[in-house]
């Protein structure tokens, strides 16, 4: 009898052990996000002992992540189960993503920022759940601005140039303004901000190319002038991505920086940052059009269509967990990544940890999206190429914009 019980117990145990579903998820490692994710997954696996989640860390550059996804998805692999998707990808990857429209209420999508849900909707189908949202911000050295009698951060680009020049003329070993000028996706984000604040755009609502405008030429000329005429940005910004700019600013070597919200908690960590407590955050300055624009960034979680039903069910649980109120709050406080759920912004803890998130709420919900088309990768490649050619003085801004328009028209077949 005892033997039978023992055998039965063994059987039950082994069934439990083997019924554990393993799913994989891709993740980034910008700033603290990977550390934060590991802590979240520990909690998730404790609450769901039948699911094991293994993490596939991805390169920080969005372009390289894109390449990996192309390889995974085109091969029809069932891994990774959960994909971390850039806000610009859903249209392109939609044929490979699980349709989540039926689970709209399970994920409580009506509580999410409408802009982020729109970005996750392709042809009426919801293919991903917004995880965190991003918008370009202006970081500035509060202490230095005060020292030279500037009470407020700059409201316009001209003001930014003036303040940067005043401070760099008197302070040593400091440049005026750092941003993302390397030839990669981040350059498109920066370019879009100047473009829109100068009154231009890439595509109109009907999808026609409208980049070839005096406003666009002026915007690009302004970016070039920041480096070569006003000399407030080092020439090396043409090789900077997010982390290069952050390191420069964090070492106290720049007055202004354009970056995403993730930098906030890192800049204020006194162990690593020389500028902890001396940093202010503001919306990006306005251009001659009077408008200020921040590019909408952020990432979503999608589920691989090729996964098995069992894996998909586990993946949905994981996505639901990671995008829940508590976890979004935890992520916002610890990784500095903006929540996509509206109610989280009302939380007093968030206000204490990252006051700018709450103060700039209006800006986050109005962030400007990049062109929304399934051909986005091609469009981005063209914009990167010609913007960078102008920034490295291989082409005049006028010529760069003309060529850009010509090639964009070719890409879109018009």
């Amino acid at each position: 009898m005892r033997k039978v019980v023992l055998f039965a117990l063994l059987l039950v145990l082994s069934v439990v052990a083997f019924s554990r579903v393993t799913i994989t998820m891709t993740a980034g490692a910008v700033g603290k996000e990977l550390e934060v994710l590991y802590a979240q997954l520990d909690r998730f696996m404790k609450a769901n002992p039948d699911i094991k989640v293994s993490v596939m860390p991805m390169p920080n550059s969005s372009t390289e992540r894109h390449d990996l996804y192309v390889t995974y998805l085109a091969s029809g692999e069932k891994e990774p189960t959960v994909l971390m998707l850039d806000v610009i990808w859903p249209a392109e990857f939609a044929p490979y993503l699980e349709d989540l429209s039926a689970d709209k209420s399970y994920f409580e999508l009506d509580k999410f920022l409408p802009g982020t849900v729109k970005a996750a909707t392709v042809g009426g189908k919801i293919v991903a759940i917004p995880w965190f949202t991003d918008a370009g911000l202006l970081y500035y050295r509060k202490d230095l601005l005060e020292k030279y009698g500037f009470k407020n951060p700059p409201k316009t680009w001209d003001e930014l140039v003036k303040i940067a020049k005043t401070i760099t003329a008197k302070e040593k070993n400091i440049v005026g303004f750092v941003w993302q000028g390397a030839r990669y996706e981040g350059l498109v984000c920066d370019f879009m901000e100047y473009l829109i604040s100068f009154g231009g755009d890439v595509l109109d609502d009907a999808g026609n190319v409208i980049i070839n405008s005096p406003a666009a030429v002026k915007a690009l000329q302004f970016m070039v002038d920041l480096i070569y005429k006003e000399k407030i940005s080092p020439q090396a910004v043409t090789t900077y991505m997010e982390e290069e700019a952050r390191r420069k600013f964090q070492n106290g070597e720049a007055v202004f920086m354009r970056n995403w919200p993730y930098a906030w908690s890192l800049l204020n960590n006194p162990k690593e940052s020389k500028v902890a407590g001396k940093v202010g955050v503001a919306p990006l300055p306005a251009g001659p059009s009077g408008k200020s624009a921040a590019t909408l960034g952020g990432w979503m979680l999608g589920i691989n269509k090729n996964a098995t039903e069992e894996e998909k069910a586990a993946a949905k649980k994981l996505v639901k967990f990671l995008t829940s109120y508590d976890e979004q709050l935890y992520k916002a406080i610890n990784a500095g990544q903006n929540p996509t759920m509206m109610d989280v912004y009302k939380n007093p803890e968030l206000k204490k940890a990252a006051p700018f998130m709450v103060e700039l709420y209006g800006m986050f919900i109005n962030a400007a999206p990049r062109p929304r088309t399934a051909k986005y990768s091609e469009i981005s490649d063209v914009i990167q190429k010609y913007t960078h050619a102008a920034l490295t003085q291989q082409m005049s801004p006028q010529k760069a914009i003309e060529e850009m328009a010509k090639e964009l028209n070719k890409v879109l077949g018009k």
């Binding site: 085109a74 390397a182 030839r183 080092p234 020439q235 090789t239 091609e378 490295t392 291989q394 890409v411």
Partner: protein, 295 residues
Amino acid sequence: MRIKTKETVVAWWMILPAIIVISVIAFFPLFKTFYDSFYEFGLRPDIQRKFVGVKNYIDLFKDERFIAALNNTVFFTIVSVALETVFGLIIALIVNQPFRFRGMVRAAMLIPWAIPTAISSQMWKWMFNDQGGIMTKLLETLHVIEPGVPVLGTPKTAMWAIITVDVWKTTPFMALLILAGLQLIPEELYEAARIDGANLWQRFTKITLPMLRSTIAVALIFRTLDALRVFDVVFIMTRGSVNTETLAVYNRVLLMDRAFTGSWFGYGSSLSVVIFILISIFAIIYIKSLKLKLD
């Protein structure tokens, strides 16, 4: 006669596995790429496959970006392979001489070659960084570049930085191959030459170089083939910006960035075929001009 036929049959059976393996891993992909290059298609499931003949090739030679990438690739190949051969030869001649710690030096010399290119490229990228990069400091001190000019963000310097990394990395490979060739030269030849009164230079040009010819030819073929498809160094250091885009880096844009956006896969395949033809041309030139016997 009967025995010979039987032997032939056995021989065929013995090499069959090798033939199968080579067909699967070399000939099949090659054939598939040729085949694909005559079609217009993408990887997105809803894109139709269409036969277009040689249209991809015609478009390719009208594509300014392709022509620029072709020029960059050939420039990179000629300069880097030439430098690697000269440095490799010099280093091989030095470490072929007996001196103390020769074994250690020979082993240490291989370190750059042993580091994966992705890692060494990233390492060099940091050294060329404007924020405290040692190469940037060095070049500024030597007045090669003006202060504040980013090496990897300037058209004039970026390609040279990439060539530097490639030369640093692959010179040991050249040196090793040439060293092996040097050790095959019989000592008697030098002895006889010395007795006949040949000086050092004469011994080098009349014995060493001719005897090294086939070794150098093999080394050149290896290196040239590698250099013509260079991808990792360029992609990591500059991503092909500031006039450093090579054919393989452009092909990544076509095959990866645009895999799901449109019908670019056939076009990318035709670019691969062009790289293949280019490599073949170089190989034939080497084999003919260095009178290498392949059989």
